[in-house]
């Protein structure tokens, strides 16, 4: 029973996979519905906690994750896949907080983040008095740390191949690992069952009719490589960190894009929330932030070329007036 609950919480785990194989569950209409509901709630930017009580319901819950992935594999829609990955990661994170050390360790290990409590070979400092410092192997830290300035390696304590993190940061790394794992959808093998095709049809009507895109179109080469890269990521529905979103919005505002246009562009983000985005972009416009300099962008890890222009606005020697 404990194992079953664990699998409900972490349907991406090895335990869940083994459970489904052992029980040889076939996708019943109930499971198909749950799989579809999982995707629909992800699409609306929410994640639903399981309310299953009976064993069979719980099994169906675990199987619904696999069904969602089959539907995604058939649809091959990056927007939906990224939405799903973000929702699953947030859902898992909500459980991490209350998880005991043992289960958390198991799931962390499976995700490729094997933490150490202390490192005998070296002395470490406690940063800002946070207790319970953990040590994450550097390669895992690099793979799963969010691309934000707080997690930038240069500002972390790095020694002997380990990076120290506090328990909250460790859970954040795990969330990122779940997002990556859930977003990797394998190819469907063999024929596609009709039930999957039907579910996909049903979902299509919920997808934005025309994929949201900016109405201001830039010509190729209009923007410096860093901003171009962020715009490219947006088009591919990839997640952007806070600094990247902020820097891009300030830049686009300075280039004369309206709040509505920026919000519409940002609706490509897998965790898009119209209200929050609109508020933030309006705030940027109201405060009249100046576009971050190349040096700032470099420190944020956004700079990706050595254009030596001082500011993204100086790209190609032109200066676009701020609005």
């Amino acid at each position: 029973m404990d194992n079953l609950d664990f699998c409900v919480r972490y349907p991406f785990s090895n335990a869940a996979k083994e459970l489904l194989e052992k029980e040889s569950i076939s996708p019943t209409p109930e499971i198909m519905d749950k799989g579809l509901a999982r995707l629909k709630s992800a699409l609306s930017g929410k994640w639903m906690k399981s309310t299953a009580v009976h064993e069979s319901e719980k099994l169906a819950e675990v199987a619904s994750y696999a069904v969602s992935r089959m539907i995604l594999s058939y649809m091959r829609n990056r927007y939906l896949t990224n939405k799903f990955a973000v929702a699953e990661a947030k859902l898992a994170h909500s459980f991490f907080e209350k998880e005991g050390d043992g289960a958390l360790g198991t799931i962390s290990e499976e995700l490729g983040i094997s933490v150490k409590k202390e490192n005998q070979s070296d002395r470490f400092v406690t940063i800002h008095g946070v207790n319970g410092i953990l040590f994450v192997p550097l390669p895992a830290y690099l793979k799963f740390s969010p691309r934000s300035i707080d997690y930038k390696l240069v500002n972390r304590s790095v020694s002997n191949g380990f990076v120290s993190v506090n328990p909250h940061e460790r859970r954040r790394l795990m969330e990122e690992a779940v997002r990556k794992k859930a977003g990797e959808i394998p190819q469907l093998r063999g024929g596609v069952p009709d039930s999957i095709k039907k579910a996909a049809e049903n979902l299509k009507s919920d997808l934005p009719k025309i994929e949201p895109q900016s109405t201001v179109t830039f010509k190729e080469g209009d923007n410096p490589p860093c901003m171009e890269k962020l715009l490219e990521s947006l088009k591919k529905h990839e997640n952007l960190n806070h600094q990247s979103r902020w820097a891009l919005a300030v830049y686009l505002t300075a280039r004369g894009m309206s709040v509505e246009q920026i919000v519409s562009l940002y609706s490509n983000l897998p965790d898009f929330n119209e209200k929050i985005t609109k508020y933030q972009v309006e705030h940027i416009k109201k405060r009249g932030y100046s576009v971050p300099s190349c040096a700032t962008l470099l420190s944020y890890g956004i700079c990706c070329a050595d254009c030596r222009i001082g500011s993204p606005l100086n790209w190609k020697g032109k200066v676009w007036g701020a609005v």
């Binding site: 070296d122 002395r123 470490f124 400092v125 940063i127 800002h128 008095g129 192997p137 550097l138 390669p139 690099l142 793979k143 691309r147 300035i149 930038k152 390696l153 240069v154 500002n155 972390r156 304590s157 790095v158 020694s159 002997n160 191949g161 380990f162 470099l298 420190s299 944020y300 890890g301």
Partner: protein, 259 residues
């Protein structure tokens, strides 16, 4: 890609002589290329690479090729592939790649760099010892330091834990080594009222940039005393403060007696 360099504009006799020497060298050379069967090779006689997408099943097969055909230029991929000889690139099936730190020098004129190579070598050794070994925890056995053949040094890391890193992650390591984005204010924890500030900061013995920062400040205070504060001309005050830093105590009241 690693290169074996030779001047390309030479007369046929010189060329023959060089090729003979190369061939003799290759017949006994210690060929240390891990997972050689997963690497793509390129050879050249006119350009550095005239032919590529080649592969060898073993170091001995590679040696036989070099001894018999003796090209002027030889290079191998940093990446490991499932099918190193497949084309186009997408069909090779990338498995990972060595982590390579490239220290190049830019100087005026063709030979300007040679006078400065000693400095680059020192930097390469510092990068290897202070960062790659000490901070990244990579064993020296997994590292090779090679002369690029032209204007710098390359450090190859072959630790299997690092081979699967993507370009973003590799960039993060390079930025770490360059100190890009370092915010030293993060090192400090300030508490207490203004008159009796308690500042806890990095110690000399701390790992990574914290220790580097503490050491650099102590050195700077001792070397360029006047640029910091007149108080520090008093050797006792200076020592009191720098000894505080050694313990991680950066509080100004550490030298308050002269204020």
């Amino acid at each position: 890609m690693e290169k074996t360099w030779v001047q390309n504009s030479m007369d046929p006799n010189e060329r023959q002589f060089v090729l003979k020497k190369f061939s003799a060298y290759y017949s006994n050379a210690n060929i240390q290329i891990p997972s050689i069967n997963q690497r793509e090779f390129g050879f050249g006689n006119i350009k550095k690479i005239d032919a590529r997408h080649l592969s060898f099943g073993s170091a001995e097969a590679f040696r036989t090729y070099l001894v018999t055909n003796t090209p002027l230029f030889v290079s191998h991929s940093a990446a490991y592939y499932e099918r190193p000889d497949a084309t186009p690139m997408e069909r090779k099936g990338i498995l990972g790649a060595d982590l390579i730190f490239d220290l190049d020098l830019h100087a005026e004129g063709k030979y300007g760099v040679y006078a400065m190579l000693g400095k680059v070598k020192d930097d390469a050794i510092r990068l290897m010892e202070d960062f790659i070994v000490s901070d990244f925890g990579i064993s020296k056995k997994e590292i090779i330091l090679v002369f690029s053949g032209n204007r710098g040094y390359h450090i190859h890391v072959r630790d299997t834990d690092y081979l699967g890193l993507g370009s973003e992650e590799r960039r993060e390591l390079a930025e770490y080594a360059n100190g890009i984005g370092l915010n030293y204010l993060n090192f400090f924890d300030v508490s207490g009222p203004k008159r009796a500030l308690r500042i806890i900061g990095p110690k000399e013995s701390d790992s990574g940039y914290r220790g580097r920062f503490a050491k650099a400040v102590i050195r700077a205070i001792n070397e360029k005393t006047q640029t910091f504060s007149r108080k520090f001309s008093n050797i006792e005050e200076r020592e009191r403060f720098t000894n505080g830093i050694k313990e991680g105590n950066w509080s100004p009241n550490n030298f308050q007696s002269v204020q």
